[in-house]
Amino acid sequence: MSACQDQSLLSAYLDQEINIRDQERIKFHLASCDSCRSELESLRLTKATLFAAPRRAAPPELIARIEGKLSGPFPSYNHSWTGGLPRLGIPVGALATALIAALWLGLKQKDPDHYLPLEPLMTAHSRYTAESLVPQGTLASSDYSLLAYGDYEDPDAD
């Protein structure tokens, strides 16, 4: 602010909302600039006038009206359908989500146009087969063998 270039700094100076370096710079400038000193005094007076303006008290009937409305439901928190399940809500919800996801995945696999990565499944199958945990040839003879991981196309990819 060496040549009164940015007087908005004066307001920030008055409010002590600038760093110490700028504060010192402005202080130094004010010592030799009548115009900026006068502007600063004017800003100080305006600020004091606004600060001294009486505060408005909210009318009691307004407070009462708002309080009356606060007895309504909390839409973001309170859902009537969970009202009867205060403690079971989360586990039941998680179980239901898992079931829906499993059902959805099952339907997806039946969809011939939808390709899923089967490499992990085939690897697991091979291991289980080697350990005789499942009947031999169950998956190897099926059409799933056509869907190698490398052929997978992400339907959501651009």
Partner: protein
């Protein structure tokens, strides 16, 4: 739900005065201030789940109130919300509803009211962004950073709005003084 409702009542008691004063200084009249405050608290109540509890509630509330006011200004005309003539407290009964200072002498009370009337008229004559920034700083005493969060702008913008706002308010106030509004 009852607990949350009670918590919110506490917040209303804590911040109601601040919200109302800000609403009044923004809108310039009692009726709009009441509507603004009620709408702001109801929105805050409805969307309380989106409130970041690590930040001050009053800043969040004032931001909601400010946005409602801006919506109102955009939707209707500027004059609808801040008319200098129709809603001026000096011309209506609104000032009589303001709690009087029982300790003040009658003469002081008149001067106080007239000064306050001029302050509000000067604020009303200033564009909304400047008026908001100056009100939040000089009347509500918030920091530049808090004002930036409420108004959704950088601190540098807040700084220039406060300065420009003070200059405009001072000019308007001086013009009113010259009109002989104050004794």
């Amino acid at each position: 739900m009852k607990r949350r409702s009670e918590d919110f009542r506490q917040l209303l008691r804590l911040w109601g005065e601040k919200a109302y004063n800000f609403a009044y200084r923004l809108s310039g009249n009692e009726q709009d201030a009441q509507d603004l405050m009620q709408e702001a608290f109801m929105r805050a109540y409805t969307h309380f789940s989106s409130y970041d509890r690590t930040r001050p509630f009053d800043s969040w509330l004032l931001r909601i109130l400010h946005n409602i006011y801006l919506d109102g200004v955009r939707r209707y005309s500027h004059n609808h919300m801040v008319s200098l003539d129709i809603h001026s407290p000096a011309n209506g009964s609104a000032w009589e509803q303001v709690l009087p200072d029982q300790q003040a002498a009658p003469g002081d009370e008149i001067v106080r009211r007239e000064t306050d009337e001029m302050v509000q008229k000067a604020l009303n004559s200033t564009p909304v962004h400047y008026r908001t920034a100056v009100t939040l700083r000089d009347i509500e005493g918030l920091s530049y950073e808090e004002i930036g969060k409420i108004m959704g702008c950088p601190v540098g913008t807040v700084r220039s709005r406060i300065h420009q706002g003070r200059v405009l308010i001072r000019r308007a106030y001086e013009a009113l003084e010259k009109e002989g509004k104050i004794q």
